[in-house]
Point group: C2
Chain length 448, copies 2
């Protein structure tokens, strides 16, 4: 009898799993329910659509619904919401606009993603106040900025979204104010990165308000200002980007367990506490390669990889979803900033390490070769074992070098082993000692 | 009693060792003999001096003789040649212009480097025929090109030097002919890279003569043409870059053993068969991280790292010199080409592997993000163990991604482990699956 694989959610994890399952076992029935109209889209590309570097929202779609249906033979239902999982009966309750029905499954993947957190601000409902959480919202921001030609913008939150939207709105000539509650932006990247990025944002004309809590927005129908503790600052458009929370309600109601991070707990194959139910993507936990503990890192590669692995596992080839190192990279105007692993010393200590770190700056190219840029590299290691725990990189070029550190973390390398990695050198590409190696050398010296 | 560390050769390995030894043990007497006038210079930068991107040969010097003497307190003798090693007496015979004397040592480092191979060509002595093997020669080429304004150049050898000099001479408006005996240029990079680079060189106006043996040069005092088997092609300047050979005569005469590659054999600490004599740099072997066998990879990072380690070892902290993966990167006009590990399938089989390889092309950025470039990635793995053996990368940007592969080789990763590395993604920097991961994914599929 044909087995049925049902997927809830049609973005990275869901569509990767559906495509892979169908490719591995063309006989399998593979059904995807997506409550919106967009599937397999690059949410990370939305700031560049708003900026105007991507012409059409459709360009952000990797595979279209038609391609999934016709070329990949996936039974994809958009505009269709799963409102209930009945794990004993192994069915899901499906609502289209017109009808409600039960869909049986043999294997189920919950890939419901995450949603932008809406903080308890006054005036969130005003026209011109946006959170950026889906393609519809990206389109609305782009339209608003184009139609209303705002003079000033309030961006709340100094994470990826805030920084990318600061760049996007500046490109439209908008005066951008960026509000961050903490002492520094880009908290997961650590201070060494934050300070470099903050200086660059200021150079680019972004008005940074650090350690500044926003309480809400004011205006008459349309947003006119942002309210702080003791002042009100004009804002013709506002974007709230204070993080995302996993969409777990549907799973929780069905008795599927959440982990310590609040996302759905899974084993190394992405299986939940219900053996026929998997979870992957921004709603699920992953194992951190450094701590070995559960973590919630809602990023695209983790989602794609886990989805693909689950597609293999349920069709007969058990495949671990792969750990996460929390690797991330962000563009801030002319800078790149990247991180991987455990940077925060408190977090390292909680995980049982005795962290030692160094920060160095070095050129991306030989000192005599034209157009090199300064790269600031931080590496963190455990004092006793010498095990590498994490790192960051920031500069005008060469920030993909974080991949060297991420690979070293995946391989459980020590700082000394990383220091001995045979990295590529030629004057146009690197100094003899790549900045990552220089940082490793200095850190190894500190560990002696 | 103060111990004496004598170093023969004042470039990367020698000066790294001398500096490190003196820093670790300021009481130690550290004496360096360099037969030329230049020390600690970046030979890899010479093509960019000839091209005109580096204004002054002095810019290629990392640390000046004065800095070594005054700031690092190294007893550096330039213009001074060691003509004999007397290993029983533990002395070296030193010739300055004026005198010959015996210098005793406790530890000796032979860091005599390598020399450009001079093939048995007719007319090598003609004016305008150069091998590029030291700073003096680089200066001579630059002067010749500037003074004589040659119309056509013959470059013999399609390795790094040949390709970099093709770019350098083209920048002066010279018509460049590049002669390569083998079917492809850049032999150690494999065919997938060579084909991309060859096409690019042709686009840039370089006339490639593959499978073409040069027999010599003709001219009256000054070079006028290059002689091939059945034709003679005009050439106003000629550069021969057919590889380098380790300078081992001095060591051999003292009974120091060479390894299978013809370079000086060493243990993991850089020690030769004579326990008080070390060797490092372009004249010494290193252990290949993939095969575990001796290899001769005359490159700058290997030399620097080995020298530094020996400086630590002889001052009391035994430090392995680190293996080599044969990682290399070269710029060819607007392209970068990089390699690491074992690429050649015959060589892999000789080392006991059953090689399987894939070549993929993917964008360096998200498909919708502007200005991405195509990156061609080759990965090679052992069929049974899945162990990664090597890889290459070629494209207009992002070729430092080879470091991810090099790090994976240093860590003995399998293809599946590499596929699960948590590399950095954001649209301006990478597709969700970095090209290296895509290649690993395809190769892992082929190994199943």
């Amino acid at each position: 009898m044909t087995k049925t694989f049902v997927v809830i959610g049609g973005d990275a994890a869901g569509m990767s799993a559906a495509s892979k399952a169908k490719r591995e076992d063309p006989e399998r029935e593979v059904i995807v329910f997506e409550k919106g109209e967009w599937v397999s889209y690059a949410a990370c590309g939305m700031p560049y659509y708003v900026k105007g570097e991507v012409d059409d929202l459709d360009d952000l779609v990797t595979v279209t619904p038609e391609e999934f249906r016709e070329e990949r033979d996936v039974d994809l239902h958009t505009g269709t919401e799963v409102v209930d999982i009945n794990s004993e009966a192994q069915t899901v309750t499906v609502e289209t606009g017109d009808e409600t029905y039960e869909q049986p499954y043999d294997d189920l993947l919950v890939a419901t993603g995450a949603s932008a957190i809406e903080p308890p601000f006054d005036g969130l409902g005003l026209e011109g106040v946006f959170t950026i959480h889906d393609m519809v919202e990206a389109d609305a921001i782009e339209n608003y900025v184009t139609d209303r030609d705002p003079e000033t913008a309030a961006i709340v939150g100094g994470g990826y979204v805030g920084i990318e939207m600061a760049e996007a709105l500046s490109a439209h000539g908008v005066d951008v104010h960026l509000y961050e509650m903490l002492p520094h932006i880009l908290q997961p990247f650590g201070e060494a990165v934050a300070e470099v990025v903050e200086e660059h944002l200021r150079e680019q004309g972004v008005e940074l308000h650090l350690e500044t809590a926003v309480s809400g927005f004011v205006g008459d129908e349309r947003v006119e200002a942002v309210e702080l503790e003791d002042e009100t600052v004009a804002a013709d458009v506002a974007i709230v980007g204070v993080g995302v929370a996993p969409n777990t309600d549907l799973a929780e109601e069905a008795g599927i367990e959440l982990g310590p991070t609040g996302a759905i707990a899974t084993d190394e194959y992405g299986r939940t506490n219900d053996e026929n139910v998997y979870a992957a993507g921004d709603n699920a936990e992953a194992t951190h390669v450094v701590t070995g503990e559960s973590d919630h890192v809602p990023l695209a590669l983790t989602a794609n990889r886990a989805g693909r692995a689950i597609g293999q596992t349920i069709t007969g080839a058990p495949t671990p979803t792969g750990g996460t190192a929390g690797t991330a990279i962000v563009k801030a105007f002319d800078l790149g900033a990247a991180r991987t692993g455990i940077i925060d010393e408190d977090r390292a200590r909680e995980a049982g390490f005795d962290p030692v770190s160094v920060t160095i700056s070095a050129s991306t190219r030989a000192h005599y070769y034209p157009d090199g840029a300064e790269l600031t590299v931080t590496l963190v290691a455990d004092r006793e074992s010498g095990e590498l725990l994490g790192g960051t990189v920031v500069g005008r070029e060469g920030t993909k070098r974080i991949d060297t550190v991420a690979t070293a973390l995946t391989a459980d390398m020590t700082v000394t082993e990383l220091q001995n990695a045979d990295l590529a050198y030629a004057p146009p590409f690197s100094p003899v000692w790549d900045p990552i190696l220089t940082a490793a050398k200095v850190l190894a010296g500190k560990l002696e």
